[in-house]
Every structure is written in structure tokens, then in C-alpha cells.
Amino acid sequence: MIAIIDYGVGNLFSLKSSLAEIGAEAVVTSDEKVIAECDRIILPGVGAFEDAARKLRESGMAEVVKKEAAAGKPLLGICLGMQLMFDKGYEYGEHEGLGLIHGNVRPIADVIPEGYKIPHIGWNLLKFTKKSPLFKYIKEGDYVYFVHSYYAADCDESVIATTEYGADLTAAAANGNVYGCQFHPEKSGKVGMKILKAFVEL
């Protein structure tokens, strides 16, 4: 059973449907006991870093996720859920993240040339920077769907895939049992399903 953490941020319908599609059972929950019984965790999220980080703390989910990650349970953060796993987010100020992967979340405007639209919205291809079990069913050059204006920086040792949008942006990162995807696997067609399947089999 997969726990999809419910902390009042984002649309969980597609994520739940896509897991059902690959035959994985999932529960949307903010109950610590239910989460403890699940064998893996997904942290979703859309919106702004500060608001989401606050909701994660106030709901008590920040501590629960950190505890479960420390115990070795496979954890996957998606989009803003991925960004929250880093040390700090610099979106309208400086905000504390979960610190599960070292690095900081910075505006893509800092690194991409002028003329590129922000947010980075659409299908872009993955370049692998490290071998990862998350990618066992997909190949380099496969397309996934992105929607973001910030990216994970200062985290070279954890980056497992990048995508090119005027600059190489972190597309996925990993630190032991903790994984994060900047793109939306649940919206990335067959390629996304294969990534979720690989996570379910970790």
C-alpha cells in the first residue's frame, strides 16, 4: 500500500488514478498510523513553497515523512513535493524544507537565458546523470511533463536526471531511499507510468 500524503496541497485525483492504472493500491491520508502501515510514501504538491511547507509542518506531516524516510521507507516527492525535500526554498523569501536531500530550490530565471518562457511548461526530455532504479523501465531521451518556475540547485551529488531548457535543470534527484521528480509522472503518459511502476517495485 502506498500512502499519498494529504496536507491540503494539490490535486490528488490523477496520482491516485495513475497508481490504480499500474495496479498499485494507494490511500490518500494524513493519518500517522495509516502511513506507518504503508510500505512506501508519495509526497505530492502544487503551488507555492512557503504555503506548502507551512501546511506540511502544521499538519504534522513534515515530522511523519522525515521519520519514515529515516526508517528507510521509499519516498517519492513530485513537483513541489520534490522541492520540499531539499534544505531550503527561495521562492518569495527563504523557507525551510525537509532537508532530506541536500540542496536549495531556486528560480529557474537565475539560470536560463532571456526569451525563455516561465514557467517551464510542457514535455521535455530526460538526460540521465546517474544510474537509478527509478529509471529501470525508461530510456534516456524519453519525454516527461513539466510545470515549474523553480528548480533544485546546489545538489550535484543527488541529481539523477536533468532536462534542458536554456540550462540543465534538475529533473530528478535521489538520496538513498528518498526520490524526487520535478516533472509529473502521473501526467507523463506511458513513460510516467513506467517511472511509478519502478518506484512501486523499489
Binding site: 485525483f13 488514478s17 507555492a48 518562457k117 517551464h120 519525454y143 511533463y145 531548457y165
Partner: protein, 253 residues
């Protein structure tokens, strides 16, 4: 490199997909769920669902159709038609929509853009705009292309983007359904006016029309069409092959 998106649009009335010429003479086509699946298999990059009667008659979307579609296709899904309140946003997002497009609702109450952008993020709010040439200027039309609002289109789009619209669908009433190509003049003006993604709609009749669109306006992000895909006049996979052969970045599956 980010790819140019190809987006089939499904105009839904009473739970069926329909497509008219210049918004009139609407004919029945097929089940939206089946068509959504078919397009996804063929390589569509995104799907747009419009409830075409809602803005005129205040009819609500059939949320069952939406829910069933969103449970079966795993690419981005935009929903529009009759969206005029935050409750409408909430309703379609809960049924699996990723983005919500506002048209007449934003004309009646522009504040809904800001309100929705704050709640769900700019990326969730799509401005859809029906535009027609009237007396030498581009005018915004409301209620499914029926009423001339008197507003100048480029200024309206710029204003909505300033309020938080994260994407703009530009539908040219002059070219819609007549299959003579996209409205390059209008689309070029919009692309020069805003920095958010712009989706071209209205006029696609052949593969060449998409090639012309992406060649002549390199900053345009996506091309949207309905009838040519519905009636198998153009297959999405052939279209993408042709775009790739022309050096236009596309996602292949």
C-alpha cells in the same frame, strides 16, 4: 529542448463530443472518453475539454464524463466551459482536471483570474479568448462567440496575464472551422504581447497549417484543433512525423 504541443480539443455537449463550423450547425461525433483514449494513444500532448453549451445556457459540465476521462488518460487535461466561480474551478479540479480555462466567466468577472491563480497557482488558470475582426480591430467575443464585448483583444489578454492567467488559448472566430489555416496575424500579435505560453486555435485543416504555424511563429507553444482529428483527416502521429521532418521539436511516443 521543450517540444511544441499538439492538443486535440473535445467540445462536449450532453456527454458527447461535437464540432461545428463557425460555432453553428453542430453535429454529433463520439464518446469523449473513447476519443480521449484514442488521442492519448496516438501521441496527443494534452487534451482540452470544453462544455460548449455551458457559457450560453449556464449548463454545468457532466462531471461523470470528466471523472471517467481523467481516470483513463494520463496526460494534462484542461477543462473549460461555463467556468464562472471558484466553486466551478474546485468542481472540475476534483474530477481530475489539471488546468481550468475561463472565457465568458472572466469577461463578466475578471477578478476570478486573480482569485483562482492565488488558490491554485498561475499554471492552473488558462485564459481562453474568442476573437474576431470588427471594423479593423481584434475584438473579444463572449458566450461562445455570440456577443461582441467591444473590448480590444490584445489589451484584454495582456490584462488577464497580468492578473495571473498562466496560459492563453487564442481562438480566432474568423478562421474557426473553415480549415484555411491558423490566424497567423492575430497569433503573432498575442505572442509578442505576453510571455506566458500561447496556444493557437481555429483554422487547422491540414498538416501544412501546423507546419506554417510553428515556422512563422517560433515562440508559439501549441496548436489546438478538433474536427480534423475527430474525422481522421489528420492523424496525430502523421502530424508529428511531419513536424519532426521539418525540424520542429515534438514528443514522439
Amino acid at each position: 529542448m521543450i517540444t511544441k504541443r499538439i492538443i486535440p480539443c473535445l467540445d462536449v455537449r450532453d456527454g458527447r463530443v461535437v464540432k461545428g463550423v463557425n460555432f453553428e450547425n453542430i453535429g454529433d461525433v463520439a464518446s469523449p472518453v473513447d476519443m480521449a483514449k484514442k488521442y492519448t494513444e496516438a501521441g496527443a500532448d494534452e487534451l482540452v475539454f470544453y462544455d460548449i453549451t455551458a457559457s450560453a445556457e449556464g449548463r454545468k459540465l457532466f462531471t461523470e464524463i470528466l471523472t471517467e476521462t481523467a481516470s483513463n488518460v494520463f496526460i494534462p487535461l484542461t477543462v473549460g466551459g461555463g467556468i464562472s466561480s471558484i466553486e466551478d474551478f474546485d468542481r472540475v479540479l476534483k474530477c481530475g482536471a489539471d488546468k481550468v480555462s475561463v472565457n465568458s466567466g472572466a469577461i463578466r468577472n475578471p477578478g476570478i483570474i486573480t482569485e483562482a491563480a492565488k488558490l491554485y497557482g498561475d499554471q492552473c488558470v488558462v485564459l481562453s479568448c474568442d476573437i474576431k475582426r470588427v471594423g479593423g480591430e481584434f475584438r473579444v467575443f463572449s458566450r461562445g462567440g455570440r456577443d461582441d464585448t467591444g473590448m480590444e483583444a490584445i489589451e484584454w489578454i495582456r490584462r488577464c496575464v497580468g492578473m495571473g492567467a498562466g496560459e492563453v488559448v487564442v481562438n480566432s472566430i474568423d478562421t474557426d472551422g473553415v480549415k484555411t489555416g491558423f490566424d497567423i496575424e492575430l497569433l503573432d500579435l498575442v505572442c509578442k504581447a505576453v510571455s506566458v505560453p500561447v496556444i493557437a486555435s481555429g483554422g487547422a485543416g491540414s498538416i501544412e497549417h501546423f507546419i506554417e504555424l510553428f515556422r512563422r511563429i517560433p515562440t508559439i507553444d501549441a496548436g489546438l484543433a478538433a474536427s480534423i482529428f475527430h474525422f481522421d483527416e489528420v492523424s496525430i502521429s502523421d502530424l508529428k512525423d511531419a513536424m519532426a521532418a521539418e525540424g520542429i521539436p515534438v514528443r514522439r511516443i
